[in-house]
């Protein structure tokens, strides 16, 4: 069973001559441990797709199943509970709470998920250590670089063992090498069994994914499919 199953999902805003089709008949299945990138120009539907996948918005047609459960069948409280337990978001800005240290930011997310304060703090430190961010734990967001902040935000998004990570241009403001460290961390989370959907303009970052889906005008315009493996690349370099 796919972790996330978007089944012919559509999202229309407005009506009449103001009708805008943001997403049109898009099907996407994502399994545990899979890294999918969604690419497309501005207005192609990337963010709408993420919002539907994350239950922040509801489709006007089609279905969204999370671990086999139709999100439309959940009431507000049930949906909020499912999202908190299963889905983490990472946006372009890290949005860490400035008055809390990195570890406290993580611990707070765990406490909101029902973990007791002491255990939450211990788990937060453990998670930061496992992601190579142990040294950042005691520092406040203002004392961290942009890349560190974003990696802490990813740690917060996966805290408590959430199974689906939705990332919307998480590397927007970062330099190439720092952006790569963020991608590397997302890849690492997939290896640990988390599924990731990344919406991005950046083809270098999309290339970290197992599959790249191209959106154009709200529809799927192409897909790279499962990785072909480097042996499929042609050796055309010539030495003179």
């Amino acid at each position: 069973m796919a972790l996330l199953d978007m089944d012919r999902a559509g999202r229309v805003f407005g009506s009449g001559h103001l009708r805008v089709v943001a997403l049109d008949d898009v099907s996407l299945r994502v399994s545990a441990g899979e890294f999918v990138a969604v690419m497309g120009p501005s207005g192609s539907g990337k963010s709408t797709l993420l919002r539907l996948a994350g239950g922040l918005d509801r489709p006007t047609s089609g279905r969204i199943l999370l671990s086999g459960r139709d999100l439309a069948g959940l009431d507000e409280a049930g949906l909020a509970e499912a999202l908190r337990r299963e889905i983490g978001f990472v946006l372009q800005e890290a949005n860490l709470l400035a008055s809390l240290t990195a570890a406290e930011n993580l611990a707070l997310a765990l406490e909101l998920a029902g973990v007791r304060p002491k255990a939450a703090m211990a788990a937060a430190r453990g998670l930061l250590d496992s992601l190579g961010l142990g040294a950042a734990g005691g520092r406040f967001p203002g004392q961290l670089s942009g890349g560190e902040q974003q990696r802490v935000a990813i740690a917060r998004a996966v805290a408590g063992g959430r199974s689906l990570l939705l990332a919307d241009e998480p590397t927007g403001a970062l330099d190439a090498l720092t952006g790569e460290s963020v991608m590397s961390l997302l890849r690492q989370r997939c290896a640990a069994g988390c599924a990731v959907i990344l919406a991005t303009h950046n083809v270098r970052h999309a290339a970290w994914a197992d599959r790249v889906v191209f959106l154009a005008d709200g529809r799927v315009a192409g897909e790279t499919g499962p990785p072909a493996g480097p042996e499929c690349l042609l050796g055309t370099g010539q030495v003179r």
Binding site: V203, R204, A207, V212, A221, P230, L233
Partner: protein, 206 residues
């Protein structure tokens, strides 16, 4: 270094075997066959070198006084870099590699003729290439992850180069796609306007 059998997207490699061999010899004398294997290992097998090419190049380097050939205890030929050779190598590192002004690229040619041909759906040609380019980029990225975990810095930097070339192609194709889409919209609008009856159009323009 691991094998990166990945030279993709027809990167026109203008590369000097001459200077690469001088660079290897600058670390110490070597046999011809050793130079071949060292060269291939250093470039992750992207640029296979045949042994004949190595000896031809060594012959020219010797003729030009950039290396000298001696024999080792087993009677095998050993090559050593000369002072002139070191000077030549230094100049190679000091001089930037010239860029080809207009690299002849198959995709560009295909695009030009797709535009002129009535048979090709140009947008589909662009989209297929885009998918292929991104797929190649995924493969290089996977090799990068492997190079990163084995601490292979030279390999990483070489693969970075391939990544940015593929990225440039993907972004170019994005631009082509956007231009084609804009052109389609403009053509559609023009058609709709031409469908408006003449008297109405006059009314509108007044």
């Amino acid at each position: 270094m691991m094998a990166y059998s990945v030279c993709i997207l027809g990167m026109g490699v203008l590369m000097s075997v001459r200077h690469s061999l001088l660079a290897l010899l600058s670390a110490g004398p070597m046999h011809g066959y050793g130079l071949k294997t060292e060269f291939e290992a250093a470039t992750g097998d992207i640029w296979p070198l045949n042994v004949g090419q190595v000896y031809t190049t060594l012959g020219r380097l010797e003729r030009d006084g950039l290396v000298t050939a001696g024999t080792d205890a087993d009677g095998q030929k050993v090559y050593e870099i000369t002072e002139a050779g070191r000077g030549e190598l230094g100049r190679w590192f000091e001089t930037p590699v010239p860029r080809e002004v207009i690299p002849r690229q198959e995709m560009a040619i295909k695009l030009v003729f797709a535009m002129r041909s009535a048979v090709a759906d140009v947008a589909a040609v662009v989209q297929r290439q885009r998918v292929a380019t991104v797929r190649a980029l995924q493969d290089i990225t996977r090799l990068k992850a492997a190079a990163e975990s084995s601490g292979d810095m030279a390999g990483l930097m070489m693969l970075d180069g391939l990544v940015f070339q593929a990225e440039a192609e993907a972004r170019w194709l994005d631009m082509c796609q956007a231009r084609l889409a804009r052109e389609n919209i403009a053509a559609g609008t023009a058609r709709r306007h031409s469908e408006i009856p003449a008297e109405q159009a006059v009314e509108r323009s007044s």
